[in-house]
Symmetry: C2
Subunit: 341 residues, 2 copies
Amino acid sequence: MPKTINTALIGLGNVGRNFLYILETKGERIADQYGLDFRLTCVADSSGVAVQPAGFDPAELRRWKESGGRVSGLDGYLPGRTPAEAVADAPVDLLLEASPVNLQTGEPGLGAVRAALSRGAAAVLANKAPLVLAFAELHALAAANHAPLAYSATVCGALPVINIGRRDLIAADITYLAGIFNSTSNFILGEMASGRPYSEVLAEAQRRGLAETDPSLDVEGWDTANKLVIIANSFLGIHATLADVEVRGMSGVTTADLQAALADGSTIKLLAQAEQMAGGYHLSVGPKPIARHSFLGQCDSWEMGIEIKSDLYGIMYHKIWEREPLPTAAAMLRDAVNMLG
Amino acid sequence: MPKTINTALIGLGNVGRNFLYILETKGERIADQYGLDFRLTCVADSSGVAVQPAGFDPAELRRWKESGGRVSGLDGYLPGRTPAEAVADAPVDLLLEASPVNLQTGEPGLGAVRAALSRGAAAVLANKAPLVLAFAELHALAAANHAPLAYSATVCGALPVINIGRRDLIAADITYLAGIFNSTSNFILGEMASGRPYSEVLAEAQRRGLAETDPSLDVEGWDTANKLVIIANSFLGIHATLADVEVRGMSGVTTADLQAALADGSTIKLLAQAEQMAGGYHLSVGPKPIARHSFLGQCDSWEMGIEIKSDLYGIMYHKIWEREPLPTAAAMLRDAVNMLG
């Protein structure tokens, strides 16, 4: 018999709905292979939160959302309650946090994560904001309550950058890392180089559900900087915040710049870099020309990637191609299974 | 206080000696950061096995080996005992198996791994042979004795291919994977393309300590096939053996072939492939022309890499550059820390 995991899913946007799709299509395999049955007891979107101890049906809920329904219209809707309040009270062993990035307050995600960890429930985040704003606090809360906490979906979609950094680079001294962490801006730069106008390309990214709810996070470099901050705290061994990252966006880059770079054997990428220096790392995000045939120079279109140089593990290069939010939703599943299976 | 892990290190060749170097230089950090103190109670090379319950000093042992000393000359040498016998009796919480690949019998590695798992000790393998010959048996033995078993060092050195496959592709249906798994043959093909003679290039690989003890394993494709078999059993969900892999080596490839491919925008690589088909996978190893600017076509010199296409996780690409055995030794450390830390 699979173990039932009472699950709160906060956020029913592109990532949340794809998670529902995975439960719908892979639920049986997850039960057979990993011994887990994720029962959706609590769900939330921007209209509010609903609780059903017997569980919402993932397929029905997905169709409801895709046909324009909102959580406030579901049986079990709790008027006036916040996701954090519902997560604190409902049957919840696991929180999946996939609400939009809010760098001002981190809400509603931050409150929901605090509520889950405080009661010893596991938390899996796809939303970066709670980590960017409260990395140390959330890790301390998790440790104090023996609550598992994972967030491999926050950096480069399903590319397991965080897992590689935390589990696979044991005892390493990382001397340099660089990456392309935002596929929307990477796609836009590539398409602009071939002459398509900025606004048309951004619209395509939004249509595919890959742009952030607020696309200025993508193109102004903040999404990339968020990911660099999460990496720095996760496996560079430093306590960094956004204020420690030198950030420039890609909005100043013109089609002429891009074409001139290509003519020169290079390409302009919105690059995140962490360079080791005395006492820590220099963290930066900005458009940089790099060799066209280098690993990151070949990280094109809907790809994100990272290279990591360390004293023990040579130089590692990892990239992923993903054009929909499905892999990011799958990364939440992976974290949940690895923590609870 | 760090937890003492009584450790048997079987094999003091290039990988084993680099493991000693890591203990020597990172021992304090491993104790501080991961709470583990690896005490080398049992060591073996081709001359025999020695046991010291108080522990061998890693630095002294490394210097002893590098100045031509053998285990048979150490205090604690047990004449006539096999590594398996010593691992069964000595204080051993963890076996690190780094002896040479022996595809006929798997020995002495296979016996040592059986001995460790049978007593409930953890086993970490860098040696592929025991897994290629007895994958299912060793996993059943590990499960029956609640003994942790890991082997991320067996495939592509320190590139965490096995870890990614087992932990990061949860619930995925892998439709295709391809890789370059043997850096010696990859280096040889690249250098031959630029006109260097085969024998000179092989000698360089041997000098660097990267060629297998028997280099025909590298160039005839068997090392690559071993890794493909380990991958297939680890995360393709099939029980494959070497007999299931169509294997061709690179010895038939000439400098003229390599140069003709380059002139044509392609490059010849010793490629491992797993293609999903009805009822399983078609597994093959052989020299194949691929596009020069593809991911694997750019996997050059001392690099190994893999691309993995699945239904949930998009397309992932991973490669590593490593020119010495240090990263492979570090991969053994990572497995040990992840299992015991």
